[in-house]
């Protein structure tokens, strides 16, 4: 059997290629269906505010935000956004008024780790019972702050609800992938319900893009076998929580020579900048100026880098070549006295060290007299924009009810009870504070540990969640590790290069602040 003639073959190939190119161009240039019009939301908001203000004229002349709260808690809630948090926590209102008695299914990506997931399971079971009109399809084991959400959003298949870090979600919000929650829930309600730092973490400009479920930052965990208040009082006349870096160095010398263990296990050579930001600030630096321009090329950065290089390779107080998991191994096996980590790993250390576990704020930098100030961040629940998820208005409303519920007092108390997460919801936070101040935690030594953890919160810094922050991590990592690699480049060069790298990335992304 003979094949096709040359002309016919070419014709077929040409047709196939044309079809493919046409299809590719169609999909490449295709615009997803537009989300509910922003202008509609704005006009609704305006009309609501106007109505509310009018109804309260005779009773008060205070700020509009106060008026909004008053109305939403005392009369029938409006069925158009923005809603009050309390109305979203009312199943009758959500199921009958907002969803019109229909059953709505929402998709949720759960990014909790194992202990937190136990808490989430309890909350989820309760939610499905209380809100029979909302079916929740949960995908478990999703990594937090991963690119999966972006990929799904590009296909218009993002989950309705996602749990993310405040800074990563900030990038997603800037890209239009997340819903502006403050257009759907009264901002005054959000400010009233959650502690201020957590709300600010989820704010970009004046927009709120998520509801926080915890507050997190690093502290100095220490092993009381090697380092304790008695020792520091004897050596310096201060407790562990009042140490400065000069005293830390003397302590390290003592610990190394007496116990033959590492003083500190901090994998500086693998750093991406989260923990290092605390030291950078303590040495007098800041990541961004008021305009949003990076400020890494500074003497503070140079000094902070040199400090940790010397700690590791000159004074030999810090274990070299360690990864975060190795840090944990060294600490839990009594092979290092100090580690810098967050409350999310507390249970691991409690299990390993028991009453020998201590927690305190990071030391004061002797050179500047300023505290090393860790980034105070939050994780929380966000809702994908309709463009990213293809959600209907009813799914958006159901998602709002869901995130309000999983960040409510009971839900955050579950997280505290199962995983020791510090609540971001005010009532839950107050409950925990009361518990701690009465020394009611069991085992009793955990009261001191939490006291140290909470003390650190006084010396933290706001976690920048501007989209430019996304470039801080890779740029810092690239040049800090190069400096740490046997000083392949100098600290000054590293500081200069990491700032240039950030600026270059910002230019490439079109994110340079207008002058």
């Amino acid at each position: 059997m003979k094949g096709l003639g040359r002309t016919a073959s070419i014709a077929i190939v040409v047709v196939v290629v044309i079809i493919i190119v046409a299809a590719a161009l169609y999909y490449a240039t295709m615009k997803p269906s537009p989300p509910p019009s922003t202008s509609t939301v704005v006009s609704t908001t305006t009309s609501l505010v106007t109505t509310t203000a009018t109804s309260l004229v005779t009773t008060t002349s205070t700020a509009t935000t106060t008026s909004v709260v008053t109305v939403t808690t005392t009369s029938t809630p409006p069925t158009t956004p923005p809603f009050s948090l309390s109305s979203l926590l009312d199943p009758n209102f959500v199921c009958n008024q907002l969803l019109g008695g229909k059953t709505v299914t929402i998709t949720v990506w759960d990014t909790y780790g194992p202990p937190e997931d136990q808490a989430f399971n309890v909350t989820l079971a309760s939610f499905t019972q209380v809100y029979p009109c909302i079916k929740v399809q949960v995908t478990r084991g999703v990594g937090i702050a991963t690119a999966n959400f972006v990929s799904a959003a590009k296909a218009g298949q993002a989950p309705n609800v996602y749990r993310d870090t405040s800074d990563d979600a900030g990038k997603l919000f800037a890209g239009g992938l997340l819903l502006n929650i403050s257009k759907y829930i009264n901002p005054a309600d959000i400010n009233a319900a959650y502690i201020p730092v957590a709300v600010k973490n989820f704010m970009l400009g004046s927009s709120i893009y998520g509801l926080p479920d915890n507050v997190n930052y690093i502290v100095m965990y220490y092993n009381k076998k090697f380092l304790n208040d008695t020792l520091t009082q004897k050596m310096f006349g201060v407790g562990v929580d009042q140490l400065n870096t000069n005293q830390l160095l003397q302590l390290c010398q003592y610990i190394n020579s007496t116990y033959k263990v590492w003083c500190v296990a901090y994998g500086a050579g693998q750093e991406w900048g989260y923990r290092f930001a605390a030291w950078f600030t303590g040495f007098g630096g800041r990541i961004f100026d008021e305009r949003g321009m990076p400020q890494l090329n500074s003497s503070a950065m140079v000094k902070a880098m040199e400090f940790w290089y010397n700690m590791t390779y000159v004074w030999n107080y810090n274990a070299p070549g360690v990864t975060p998991s190795l840090e944990q191994q060294l600490f839990t096996q009594n092979m290092t006295a100090i580690i810098f980590d967050g409350p999310w790993d507390l249970k691991i250390y409690q299990k390993a060290l028991g009453p020998n576990l201590g927690a305190a704020p990071l030391p004061t930098i002797s050179m500047t007299g300023m505290r090393a100030a860790p980034l105070i961040g939050s994780t929380g629940w966000v809702i994908a924009s309709p463009q990213a998820s293809g959600a209907s208005q009813q799914q958006i409303y159901a998602s709002l009810a869901f995130i309000a519920y999983v960040t409510s007092k009971d839900a955050e108390m579950n997280l505290w009870n199962f995983a020791g997460d510090l609540p971001a919801q005010k009532q839950a936070y107050d409950t925990v504070m009361t518990l701690l101040s009465s020394g009611g935690l069991q085992p009793a030594y955990m009261n001191d540990v939490y006291k140290g953890i909470l003390e650190q919160a006084q010396y933290g810094q706001k976690f920048p969640n501007v989209p430019q922050m996304g470039f801080y991590w890779p740029c810092f990592h690239q040049y800090f590790t190069l400096y740490f690699a046997n000083r392949t480049i100098s600290a000054a060069q590293a500081a200069q290069e990491m700032e240039s790298c950030m600026i270059s990335n910002m230019q490439q992304a079109g994110l340079m602040p207008s002058s």
Binding site: A23, A24, G175, L177, P467, P474, A485, T488, N505
Partner: protein, 293 residues
């Protein structure tokens, strides 16, 4: 005429499959090329614009690209040379007729292949660990101080190349061994009768007859190693700094660390273009295609 028409319709039956395969194959490539000419990134996600050659100019005039390109060449050549040498040497050893336990050796040789590369790399990451890794513990027996394999640039390269050698040599050995076994035994017998030494037999029989296989393996190995993502991504992530970064890892990082999908596409397009050009040159001068066809 009717016969030709039938033939034409017969081909039309497979057209859907042809379109599907071509679409799956060509669409990602065309789309990558397309977005490399746009400002598509996380911050211009749903609405992005054509920017012409601007992205290419930025990449080609920046210093990082050239550094990463040099790294990619170091990684490829540095890995390929020992892989071919070790693979060929082991194949020669296993090809000895009088070698006892040849099958057992060959089975053991395939062990690195039996494990998924990703798992092997995680295990190797632990083995190179400064504190607990078996490599440093073994070196300590000879009085050598622990080596910081991850944080010192030459050590990081050494670690990467040695790990890649372990992962890859079974493939090279297997291919070389099968090629060696296809050389007619009579050639060696005749040469031996003629008084040719072992070295002479290797030089005048084995090497010439293996030339095409070596070329084929070298070209295949070159293209594979050039874009071998996992060893570098898992072991060093391209660090310290960008000191061990290669194009394919850098493209990935541009997309998923920096959310600059357009620049990731530029790196991918340039990477592919370089590789295609080098493969064509190597294929032309090695004569591998002639051997295959």
């Amino acid at each position: 005429m009717s016969y030709k028409r039938n033939i034409f319709f017969n081909y039309l039956y497979i057209l859907p499959v042809v379109i599907l395969v071509a679409f799956l194959y060509l669409y990602p490539i065309l789309y990558t090329i397309y977005i490399s000419f746009t400002n598509f990134n996380l911050y211009h996600f749903f609405e992005y614009q054509w920017v012409g050659l601007a992205n290419y100019i930025t990449v080609l005039t920046g210093g990082t690209f050239w550094q990463v390109l040099v790294n990619t060449a170091i990684w490829t050549v540095g890995s390929l040379a020992p892989m071919i040498a070790v693979g060929f040497l082991l194949a020669l050893i296993l090809n000895q007729k009088d070698l006892r336990g040849r099958s057992a050796f060959f089975t053991l040789l395939l062990v690195p292949w039996a494990f998924p590369a990703f798992i092997s790399l995680i295990v190797w990451q632990g083995m190179w660990n400064w504190k607990y890794g078996i490599v440093n513990k073994a070196l300590a027996i000879f009085g050598i101080k622990p080596v910081d394999w991850f944080d010192v640039v030459p050590m990081a390269w050494t670690m990467l190349i040695l790990t890649n050698l372990w992962l890859s040599f079974p493939y090279y050995t297997s291919v070389f061994l099968s090629a060696l076994q296809s050389i007619p035994e009579e050639l060696y017998s005749i040469a031996e009768i003629d008084g040719a030494s072992r070295l002479a037999r290797f030089r005048y029989i084995t090497l010439p007859l293996m030339r095409k296989t070596i070329a084929f393996v070298a070209i295949g190995g070159f293209t594979f190693t050039w874009n071998n993502f996992y060893p570098i991504y898992i072991l060093t992530g391209g660090g310290p700094g960008n000191a061990t970064n290669i194009l394919v890892v850098y493209a990935y990082q541009a997309a998923f660390n920096n959310s600059l999908y357009n620049f990731a596409a530029v790196y991918s397009v340039i990477d592919a273009a370089i590789l295609i050009a080098m493969a064509i040159i190597m294929l032309k001068y090695s004569g591998v295609l002639e051997a295959i066809t």
